[in-house]
């Protein structure tokens, strides 16, 4: 009641005043455009689609099963399934998306799509500087903007990507073994085709530092 509490408070603020010049624990902010904090590996911003190999159209893992479209809480994914089918990395014929669009102005970065995807096809990006003047077109990402190589995925989420790659290599090995047991030449040819496809998916085969030129230009 004699003002000692006020004096204690003044001492505390003075300590912080001087402390902020010397202690990084006190001054926690960084000056953003010049200084940057590397995003955590688990960081998630908006989803993208992973493809294997060089050709994004051929290597897209997405089979347009539309589970993510159904599960997406804010309903920001729109998928149009193809009529025909193409072989996936183990050689099984699968559909592929004719259209795959994500409205990132609606997306709330919840990662539910990643969790429900049984094909490891959709993953979360960590790029966050996405502001644009075009609210409608600029924030509606289409298939070409969404498709990114596995190498990029490995770069931003190394741990998760390693797990996925291992699992896919295992599946591929299984498929290969299955193919080897087949005796006729047609089956053998199919297995060869599968092997070449899948080679791109393994960690050893892919080039980790490579990224698509059009993706480079987009940034």
């Amino acid at each position: 009641m004699f003002g000692e509490g006020i004096l204690k408070g003044l001492a505390e603020t003075a300590r912080n005043f001087f402390g902020s010049f010397v202690s990084a624990e006190r001054l926690t902010t960084v000056e953003y455009p010049e200084q940057r904090i590397a995003p955590f590996e688990a960081a998630r911003v908006f989803p993208f689609l992973v493809y294997d190999g060089e050709d994004w159209l051929a290597g897209l893992r997405c089979v347009a099963c539309q589970i993510c479209e159904k599960e997406c809480p804010p309903q920001c994914i729109f998928i149009e399934k193809s009529k025909d089918k193409k072989p996936d990395f183990v050689g099984k014929p699968q559909s592929y998306p004719m259209r795959f669009e994500i409205d990132i102005s609606v997306c709330m970065s919840c990662q539910i799509c990643v969790e429900v995807c049984p094909f490891e096809a959709i993953k979360m990006d960590t790029a966050f500087e996405l502001s644009t003047g075009d609210r409608f077109g600029g924030l509606l990402l289409n298939l070409t903007q969404l498709a990114k190589p596995n190498a990029y995925y490995r770069q931003i989420h190394p741990t998760g990507a390693a797990e996925v790659d291992a699992r896919m290599a295992e599946e591929m090995a299984k498929a290969e073994a299955k193919a080897k047991t087949a005796t006729d030449a047609a089956a053998k040819a199919a297995a060869d085709a599968a092997a070449t496809k899948a080679a791109d998916a393994t960690p050893a085969a892919g080039d980790a530092s490579q990224s698509r030129p059009d993706e480079e230009s987009r940034r």
């Binding site: 309903q75 920001c76 994914i77 729109f78 669009e101 994500i102 409205d103 609606v106 409608f136 077109g137 509606l140």
Partner: protein
């Protein structure tokens, strides 16, 4: 903590004509509930609160549930008397008929109360009350006089489900604005078609938005052609009200 059956017995012993019914809950949570008659609900609630052993002094949660009309197919075996010609004489005979009928079980609104005891640290005891139907007889007694925590929650249930709590001190809409019609949490609530044009990825959203836009444009042009006079009148009224 007593079981629901014991609580039911206790209530029936204390409040005459309470009409308590145990509603079993098949889920693993095992939170069975007690359905009480709205007519004696306040007395039952007061008993539950003031009883020394139960001491359910803390009403945690109040909510509404909307149960729609259900179509029930049932096989009915019935004995009825029919007049029939027996041996040339008209006679009344009893006959057992079995038939499958479709019956519409009327829907109702339900208010659910979750009670705990702060003094005894036990709970939950779940109370339920049902309205007669979903349309005109939607009154239930308010338990706000017993537990004040029902005040806002019952207002919310009134707002979103349309249950009218008689005896509530201040029954107004809580979340929706005062002029709002309808109750948005009802299962048959239809969202108003107020989609603005907004190009999103969703073709069906877009379709709906375009249709809405066309309709609203048509409406506005139609209104603009003939409704200038009433609009002026309304404007004048507005200024008068302001003054």
């Amino acid at each position: 903590m007593k079981t629901v059956e014991q609580i039911k017995a206790a209530i029936e012993a204390a409040v005459a004509g309470a009409g308590v019914e145990v509603v079993p809950n098949p889920s693993p949570s095992g939170q069975h509930s007690l359905r009480i008659e709205p007519g004696r609900a306040v007395e039952v609630a007061r008993f539950l609160r003031d009883d020394a052993e139960l001491a359910l002094d803390f009403l945690s949660n109040v909510t509404g549930v909307d149960w729609l009309d259900r179509e029930i197919e049932e096989t009915v075996t019935e004995t009825r008397t029919v007049t029939r010609m027996v041996d040339g004489v008209e006679q009344a005979v009893e006959e057992t008929v079995e038939e499958t009928r479709q019956r519409i079980e009327p829907g109702f609104l339900e208010a659910v109360y979750h009670l705990y005891s702060v003094a005894k640290k036990h709970g939950p005891v779940v109370l339920r009350m049902r309205t007669v139907n979903r349309t005109d007889q939607v009154e239930l007694p308010s338990l706000t006089p017993i537990w004040r925590s029902a005040e806002f929650q019952e207002r919310e249930v009134f707002d979103l489900y349309g249950i009218i709590f008689t005896g509530h001190p201040d029954l107004r809409r809580l979340l929706m604005w005062p002029g709002f019609k309808d109750h948005p949490m009802r299962r048959d609530y239809v969202e108003p078609d107020d989609f603005e044009y907004e190009p999103t990825a969703h073709d069906r959203v877009l379709e709906r938005a375009l249709a809405h836009q066309a309709a609203s444009e048509a409406a506005s042009t139609a209104a603009g052609e003939k409704a200038s006079e009433p609009a002026e009148a309304a404007e004048q009224q507005g200024t008068e009200a302001d003054a």
